[in-house]
Amino acid sequence: MENIALKSIGINKYFSDSVKFQALKNISFEISKGEFVSIMGKSGCGKSTLLYILSTMDTDYEGKLEINGIEVTGKTQNELAYIRNSTIGFVFQFHYLLPDFTCLKNVMIPALKLGKYSYDEVESKAYEKLKMLGVEEQALKQASKLSGGQQQRIAIARALINDPAIIMGDEPTGNLDSKNTSIVFDILQNLSKEFGQTIVTVTHDDDFAHRSDRIIQMADGEITTGHH
């Protein structure tokens, strides 16, 4: 039980734009700590919807969600914000860096928010992460001046700054060429193998998915293979 990073119990999700539509149907699965999991499926199968529920950003669902053995369903927005800040790191298809800030600041901001370390400690940690991702020379440039691959690596550094237990990716390589895709994959794999961080990504990329530890296949709001 203590080895479970993420557990969903009977999650149902409905959209009700004009007609009520069930996007997720009774989703239950577990992801162990240190596991590298890819969620795959056709467009509209509900994989991104599931990821945003797992990320605690979407709270409009039925069922139960546990992170590191703690039930997060029903917590207040402020509590969830703290959980995201301290235990979850995000990498999106688009980098979503803040263009007015330097790369270094972009990486530092979540840690400054967490307030666990002093400003100087956060700065040196941020440099460490940038170095690990091979983009330390870009640290003092504006985020908007970098190439796509570099921006994505800065975004990963930002996701890592608080040493989150879980890293979530929404097509983190969706916007990258094959070379950069492979670099990003290696980084993620390394995090899971060496640092024991749990990685959950939604992806369309078969190569990427097949190199990960496990593939959860989804279709029409249900998990077809890969429960465990």
Partner: protein, 414 residues
């Protein structure tokens, strides 16, 4: 200096779009400088009008009010509690002066808050020169006390107030009287009182106020001359004029003096209700103008912050995704509003001060008023900054709340 992370983000947003920040701040600057300018002009004007009003009227005037017959004598006669009705009561014939006036003056000057007390004999009289006769009021005064109270020296056109001490039958007349009777310094003027007394006086001074009516009627003589003009003795005094420290307290101090002297004590508010009304009306006009200016400045900030939030909606979503709670996002945008407000307030008080300074040098030249009356009053500046910052907070609050409510899922998923 290390700022809190919210503050740092707020400052970065402001500094990365300097032009917008400056435009927003300029709105506040304009509002605050106008606030200061208008407040200074109004206070200056009010002070001027107060000063000029109190140059002819004392804060409190004590006199023997005419009494109408009542039934207290009947009560004394019948010694019962029956209701008496006095049909067609008449004014009582009585001594017009105050009894023991110098004793009263002494007593009043011992009172707290009282800064000046002076007795006066008022004579309704005619000024005669040749065949022309002019109706007017002769004030028998202690000229030095009168000068201290009303700053007569400031209104003198010719001669000086001290001349009255040197020339016993001297008279200081208004410019209107001099013009109408074609009189000059050291000419003689004949005065006839309403009771028939007559005297020839020597003009030792001519004054001019801004009020034509006063210049055409009022003159000053030594108190003993006024007494003899009326054929009264040296103890005859009709009015005691009192100035106190704070003229706004006049109504309550007047009640006290009434209790002490037993005579009617009239405060300036009673005798000049229009003055008080004018102050109030000016305050209403001014406050509405300032309100509108600040409202416009507030809308400027509201607009700019709203636009910023619209542009930055993805960044807000990502901040929320990385763990910034709603109140942190509110704080980021509210802080931007506050910094815009402070920047605008700071430049506003400087510009407001200079506008006030410039305007105070505009020549007007009407009557005794040479320059536009402006006051430099520190509380105006404090008020301006307070109102300015409060307006920006109010204007920033709603966009900031909106930013806090951004749903990151909707924005990030597109």
């Amino acid at each position: 200096m290390r700022f809190n992370v919210n503050t740092e983000i707020a400052l970065t947003y402001l500094s990365s779009r300097k032009k917008q920040t400056l435009v927003a701040a300029m709105g506040v600057t304009f509002g605050i400088s106008m606030f200061i300018f208008l407040q200074s002009l109004m206070k200056g004007t009010n002070d001027y009008f107060e000063k000029s009003s109190f140059s002819s009227i004392p804060h409190i005037r004590i006199y023997n009010d005419n009494k109408v017959a009542d039934f207290h004598l009947l009560n004394g006669y019948f010694k019962d509690s029956s209701v008496k009705i006095l049909d067609n009561p008449k004014q009582l014939q009585q001594y017009q002066g105050l009894i023991n006036p110098y004793g009263l003056v002494k007593e009043i000057s011992k009172q707290p808050d009282v800064v000046a007390v002076t007795p006066q004999v008022t004579v309704n009289a005619f000024y005669n020169s040749g065949s022309v006769q002019l109706n007017g009021i002769v004030n028998g005064v202690d000229i030095l006390a009168e000068d201290r109270m009303f700053d007569l020296t400031g209104y003198m056109l010719q001669g000086e107030v001290r001349n009255l001490l040197k020339v016993d039958n001297g008279i200081i007349i208004g410019k209107g009287i001099a013009d109408k009777l074609s009189l000059h310094m050291y000419d003689n003027i004949s005065i006839t009182s309403a009771t028939g007394g007559s005297k020839v006086m020597r003009i030792v001074g001519i004054y001019a106020t801004t009020i034509k009516q006063i210049d055409e009627t009022k003159s000053y003589v030594n108190i003993s001359q006024a007494q003899s003009l009326l054929g009264k003795d040296r103890s005859y005094v009709t009015d005691i004029k009192v100035n106190i420290k704070e003229y706004n307290n006049a109504p309550s101090r007047a009640r006290d003096l009434e209790a002490i002297t037993g005579y009617k004590a009239e405060d300036w508010v009673q005798s000049n209700a229009q003055l008080k009304a004018a102050f109030k009306i000016r305050a209403v006009i001014l406050n509405s103008v300032i309100g509108v200016i600040l409202l416009v400045a507030g809308f400027g900030i509201y607009n700019i912050l709203n636009m910023t939030i619209y542009e930055k909606i993805k960044e807000i979503a990502i901040l929320k995704a990385t763990g910034f709670p709603g109140k942190a996002v509110t704080s980021i945008f509210l802080q931007q509003a506050i910094y815009i407000g402070l920047l605008g307030a700071f430049t506003g008080i400087i510009i407001g001060f200079f506008i006030t300074l410039m305007v105070s040098r505009i020549y007007i030249g009407a009557g005794s008023l040479k320059y536009l009356p402006m006051s430099f009053y520190i509380p105006h500046y404090i008020e301006a900054v307070t109102f300015g910052v409060l307006t920006t907070i109010a204007a920033g609050y709603f966009p900031a709340r909106k930013a806090a409510k951004v749903d990151p899922v909707i924005i990030i998923r597109g």
